[in-house]
């Protein structure tokens, strides 16, 4: 059996699980765990609910495994189940406010101005070892409206492509791009002035960017 989380591995795994090798489900779901949790954290806003919903999601995936047709990536299918689980819980809690997760309106506001700063070209990855920087980034993402937060979670944090993100969230690829653009712009505006202080003192280019 192929060892990575390739479509071949997934298809083979699913076939064998359905044929009775149920323990293989552990390996099938493992590469999806992180994305499931962070999508649910993005929807529900706290770790306890996100973990509980993640467990329910995984159980639903197992129970519905026969229904997976391979029309999308397995992870995308799993995330759409996670999203439904999350939305169902939100509806129950009646916390769906006007920044509705179902709404697909991406009207252009057009008056975004980025944070202007002269130079901040090095990425302070070293500084992530200090918890305060990671906390600053998490906080900025948590502050985004939910529709933007969900997209940035899947695209930039879980590094899914535009198509898979659109499928998992049930929105168009155009909406994914518009929301991603807004989300990144809001994060730049919020974070750039704060992060400048974390830039390494020694000049070095990162991936050759901006040098």
């Amino acid at each position: 059996m192929p060892t990575s989380s390739s479509p071949e591995f997934e298809a083979e795994c699913i076939r064998r699980i359905l044929a009775g090798e149920k323990q293989l489900f552990h390996e099938l779901i493992r590469p999806c765990e992180r994305s499931i949790f962070f999508l649910l954290l993005s929807l529900l806003g706290n770790e306890t609910d996100a973990e509980d919903a993640a467990q329910e999601t995984v159980i639903k995936v197992y129970q519905n495994l026969r229904l997976f047709r391979g029309e999308s990536q397995f992870r995308t299918w799993v995330l759409s189940i996670a999203r439904n689980e999350g939305l169902g819980r939100l509806r129950k809690l009646r916390t769906l406010r006007e920044d509705s997760l179902e709404a697909d309106t991406d009207e252009v506001t057009g008056d975004y101005t980025p944070a202007i700063l002269t130079s901040w070209r090095e990425v302070p990855l070293q500084a992530l070892e200090r918890q305060e920087l990671a906390a600053l980034l998490r906080e900025a993402i948590q502050k985004l409206p939910a529709i933007y937060r969900n997209v940035i979670m899947l695209r930039d944090i879980e590094e899914m492509d535009v198509r898979a993100t659109a499928q998992a969230l049930g929105i168009t690829e155009g909406s994914v791009k518009v929301r991603l653009h807004r989300a990144r712009a809001m994060l730049q505006k919020e974070l750039a002035p704060k992060l400048k202080g974390y830039a390494p003192e020694r000049k070095r280019s990162f991936f050759g960017w901006g040098s």
Binding site: K22, F25, F38, Y62, V123, K177
Partner: protein, 83 residues
């Protein structure tokens, strides 16, 4: 045609993802050569994208995976017992 800063900002995200057509990309590149403001905005946006993708920013809660797989084991056991 010369494009202005506002126009560049509108395409920043697509530019970072390599999702702009070659003509527009060339125009943006030309603008970036002479505009320090847009260069800094582009660099800082890219930096933010790189930083938030780092696994140290969003970590799973301690024990998350262990608890999840225990739950799966319990489910498989129940499933096997019921046939």
């Amino acid at each position: 045609m010369r494009i202005d800063c506002k126009h560049v900002w509108d395409y920043l995200s697509a530019y970072i993802d390599g999702d702009v057509d070659p003509d527009l990309r060339a125009q943006i590149d030309r603008h970036l050569e002479t505009c320090e403001i847009c260069s800094a905005v582009l660099d800082s946006t890219r930096n933010v994208v790189v930083l938030i993708a780092d696994e140290r920013v969003f970590e799973l809660p301690a024990g998350f995976s262990k608890r999840l797989h225990e739950r799966i084991d319990a489910m498989i056991d129940a499933d096997s017992a019921s046939g």
